[in-house]
């Protein structure tokens, strides 16, 4: 049994890392907004989904304009992902302005904002479904592929106890781009003036405003950055997995949110780590559950397995792996 698990390990790592980085970037969007507003922005998963659809829309547009054959795939990809990120970033800012800021101004309870975000989530899903059906006749869209060359890591010949791992060229794109996004975000938060302002606002909004920081602008910047990263990850998801529908954001959003909680909600590096961990656990479970349980549970129980791990972690460390235990202010 152990031998079987080890054999599959290279493939589990490849798949787990891909999925883990996707979770990581989406989790950051949840954790940043939570850190600053104490709001679980359920619409964030659907921003991710919208990014995937906008990206595939651009690809279809490029095909119909005949640009695909004349431009290198990498350039097309860069144009598409940057445009999609800008649009979803703008959407995030707009959603905050229209839906959340008026509530904040009236000091509405946080629960109201939470319900609002669920509403926004439905609106986005139906809007995208409507447009997709109108344009393509079906809400499940198979996106044009850009990077579908398959590679095999021939690890078996060097270390015979491993099986070979296979991956598509899109795997490398996902890996490189998500790592760039994570490093870029880390630099942004720790080095730039708006990143520092963001941390200040997350800790004490009123004091930050007395230090010349425009709190509303910081919140807009936060939504822009989180949503742009989410949308860009949607594009990556579309390229990696090919088929998208308006409901991919829901499950993935829940899992990314879980990753954020696992890492300690409000902690950006924690979200990165939590995402990666959840992706790996999930893929490990998918590959090995049936072996581990003697065929009783198949790979479709991977989510249950992942969430059991989550619950165990939270029982022993309720503030998450990197979170600080909060002391209730009296």
């Amino acid at each position: 049994m152990l031998q079987h698990i080890i054999q599959l390990l290279p493939q589990v790592l490849v798949d787990g890392i891909t999925l883990g980085f996707v979770y990581a970037v989406v989790a950051i969007g949840y954790t940043m907004v939570y850190g600053i507003l104490e709001l679980i922005n359920f619409a964030h998963g659907d921003i991710f989904m919208t990014g995937a659809f906008i990206g595939s829309g651009f690809l279809f547009l490029f095909i119909s304009l005949g640009l695909m054959s004349s431009l290198p795939a990498l350039l097309v990809f860069l144009i598409v992902i940057i445009l999609s990120a800008m649009i979803t970033g703008g959407m995030g800012v707009a959603i905050e302005r229209v839906a959340y800021r008026p509530l904040r101004k009236r000091n509405a309870p946080k629960l109201i904002a939470l319900i609002t975000s669920i509403g926004i989530s439905f609106i986005l899903e139906d809007l995208v479904r409507f447009i997709a059906e109108w344009k393509t006749g079906n809400y499940i869209v198979t996106a044009p592929s850009l990077f579908n060359h398959t590679f095999t890591i021939d690890i078996h010949s060097i270390m015979p106890f491993f099986n070979n791992a296979k991956f598509q060229s899109s795997f490398i794109v996902v890996l490189v781009v998500t790592i760039i996004m994570l490093i870029g975000l880390d630099l942004f938060v720790n080095k730039t003036k708006w990143g520092m302002a963001m941390r200040a606002v997350a800790q004490d909004r009123e004091t930050a405003s007395l230090m010349t920081i425009n709190v509303n602008r910081v919140i807009s910047v936060t939504f822009f950055v989180g949503s742009a990263l989410g949308g860009a990850t949607g594009v990556l998801f579309m390229l990696q997995y090919g088929t998208i529908d308006p409901y991919i954001g829901f499950i993935l959003g829940i899992k990314a949110f879980t990753a954020a909680v696992l890492g300690g909600i409000g902690n950006i590096r924690g979200a990165m780590f939590g995402g990666l961990m959840l992706g790996l656990i999930e893929m490990f479970a998918a590959a090995n559950l049936s072996t581990l349980t003697g065929g009783l549970f198949g790979s479709e129980y991977k989510d249950v397995f992942a969430f059991i791990i989550l619950i165990l972690v939270l029982i022993f460390k309720p503030e998450g792996l990197f979170g600080k235990a909060t002391i209730e202010k009296v």
């Binding site: 870029g184 630099l187 942004f188 080095k191 730039t192 003036k193 708006w194 520092m196 302002a197 941390r199 200040a200 800790q203 004490d204 009123e206 004091t207 930050a208 405003s209 007395l210 230090m211 010349t212 920081i213 425009n214 709190v215 600080k324």
Partner: protein, 258 residues
């Protein structure tokens, strides 16, 4: 020349009048103290100047421009920053980051440059850090640059609050009980610092303080509040012997028996 003018400032919370019809002028480059027993409305007064509270009526002028109706970040951009009675640092961030946050409006936003780690941007970051370090050295915290603000000793936290406030290069600096909880030695250091800031930083200082020795020693002019009313104003010597002030602090009967 008056840098700060307050005209007939009143704040009511429901039926409760926290400050009533306060008028005062603060001369440029002076040290002005606002004193009074607990609950006199001093902190409410500071909160109105910094736009945390909106006055019920009256006006606040900085160099002749009204501040009423502005948002807190706009007022602080205009040149009024403050420290807090109960220290409010960004505890989970380093000492130097606290000062850098104070410098927010003077820092430039190079999004792309920072992410690409361009040399010119790095130089600019370095400059800002050097500036922040100088400020920390000035208040005597240069040994704690990378410590988390929350780990500092009490007196050091008070000085860090001052460092953060002067990092914004304010025209008027509001100090809310800067000596609270300090021992005599720390208070002496603070007194020297306040004196020095006035001359070196060309800043006008308004402070709320209960330590009468400090107030009398340091202030050019004193305003006394009691139950939200302005009951006296004058130079330290005039306030020291003012009958109404003594009554407010000790109670009427005790003052008569004295």
């Amino acid at each position: 020349m008056n840098v700060l003018e307050v005209k007939n400032l009143t704040k009511q919370f429901g039926g409760l009048t926290a400050t009533n019809d306060i008028t005062m002028t603060v001369e440029k480059n002076s040290i002005t103290a606002v004193i009074g027993p607990n609950g006199a409305g001093k902190t409410t007064f500071f909160n109105m100047i910094t736009a945390v509270y909106k006055p019920t009526s009256g006006d606040i002028l900085l160099n002749g421009h009204s501040l009423v109706g502005l948002k807190p970040h706009e007022v602080s951009k205009f040149g009024i920053t403050r420290t807090f009675q109960n220290i409010r640092l960004f505890n989970e961030q380093t000492v130097i980051d606290n000062v850098l946050i104070g410098m927010h409006q003077h820092l430039k936003a190079h999004w792309v440059g920072t992410l690409l780690r361009l040399p010119s941007i790095r130089l600019e970051e370095e400059k800002a850090k050097v500036q922040a370090y100088k400020i920390l050295k000035y208040v005597g915290l240069e040994d704690y640059v990378n410590e988390n603000a929350g780990n500092l000793a009490y007196g050091a936290q008070r000085r860090l609050e001052i460092a953060r406030a002067i990092a914004a290069r304010p025209k008027v600096l509001l100090l809310d009980e800067p000596a609270a909880g300090m021992n005599p030695k720390e208070t002496k250091k603070l007194t020297d610092l306040i004196h020095d800031m006035r001359t070196r930083l060309d800043v006008t200082i308004v402070l709320i303080e209960h330590d009468m020795k400090l107030v009398m020693e340091i202030s050019d002019y004193i305003y006394v509040l009691d139950h939200g009313e302005l009951i006296a104003q004058g130079k330290p010597d005039e306030i020291r012997n003012n009958q109404r002030v003594i009554e407010a602090y000790l109670g009427k009967v005790a003052a008569e028996n004295d």
